[in-house]
Symmetry: C2
Subunit: 141 residues, 2 copies
DNA sequence: TATTGACATGATTTTGAAAACATAAGTAGT
DNA sequence: ACTACTTATGTTTTCAAAATCATGTCAATA
């Protein structure tokens, strides 16, 4: 459904939201270790998010990544589209470029409704949702 | 969402259902040309489906692929799981193996309902649905 | 029974995502 | 200023999916 890069991006962003403390930055090393993902690979992904102002970063000693108040207002959908592109949840499940509601593929309407709802949910879920303490426990990242 | 192999498998199966005439077999060549997919690659995929009795084939002159009455009773989900494996629509969207309804990832319940409904729809849609004449027109395969 | 046309199978190549490597650039503290 | 630490960037390598190549197997028919 999502590329690995995208999965890592989501997990890292949520990790940031959950573990961020006032004025404390989280290094790639810590995040990558905690999520058990390749550090260098995650670094690139975070940089990609950073370039689009979806996460914030500071270089040097005590540097790292954090979420600014604005960053937290972004939605999960923005994270996803930043990495996998804007067509991820929109393009035809059979890979047909001409497919649309006007010229639908045989499966178009089997998926359209659910995929649209997923999009809406992801678009309506802001990152700040995950910084809320008291969330249920999650499996290891 | 689905691998290319899987997309090709679905399209080819539906093509078979739509274009099959009494006692007439369709060759890989014709199918591949019509769907605009690599012929040899499609051949492998059809063989995979054939080995699991999801499509039928006959060798030799006038040979080709066709759907037996039993084949038509199969569901789209069976086609998909034959190619992409049984976990395609079940596994965690973030790729976390431990994720389940008991130990959910942060996005588990955002997707669970819709994915489950997709599964049900696909499982309830038999191939015979597509041999029904009078279906709406489809974009080029 | 030989030929031909089709599917079947194994091995190989290509391609792009995923991962790793190497180095640059910036910042805090000494 | 110098060092250490961390993000940023460009290049290379790895790996699996996608695609191709080469050959085998089977059946219709002349």
């Amino acid at each position: 459904m999502f590329s690995k890069s995208c999965q890592y991006a989501i997990r890292a962003t949520i990790y940031l939201a959950m573990h961020q403390e006032e004025g404390k930055n989280l290094g790639v090393k810590e995040i990558a270790t905690s999520l058990d993902v390749p550090q260098q690979f995650l670094a690139k992904i975070l940089q990609q998010l950073s370039r689009q102002n979806l996460v914030s970063s500071i270089k040097g000693p005590n540097g790292g990544f954090y979420l600014s108040p604005e960053n937290k207002l972004n939605s999960l959908l923005q994270i996803i589209e930043c990495i996998d592109g804007p067509l991820t949840l929109n393009s035809c499940v059979l890979g047909l470029p001409q497919c649309s509601s006007v010229t639908p593929c045989p499966l178009h309407f089997n998926f359209f409704e659910y995929r649209e709802k997923m999009r809406q949910t992801l678009g309506a879920t802001s990152i700040s949702n995950f910084s809320n303490p008291g969330l249920p426990p999650y499996p290891t990242y």
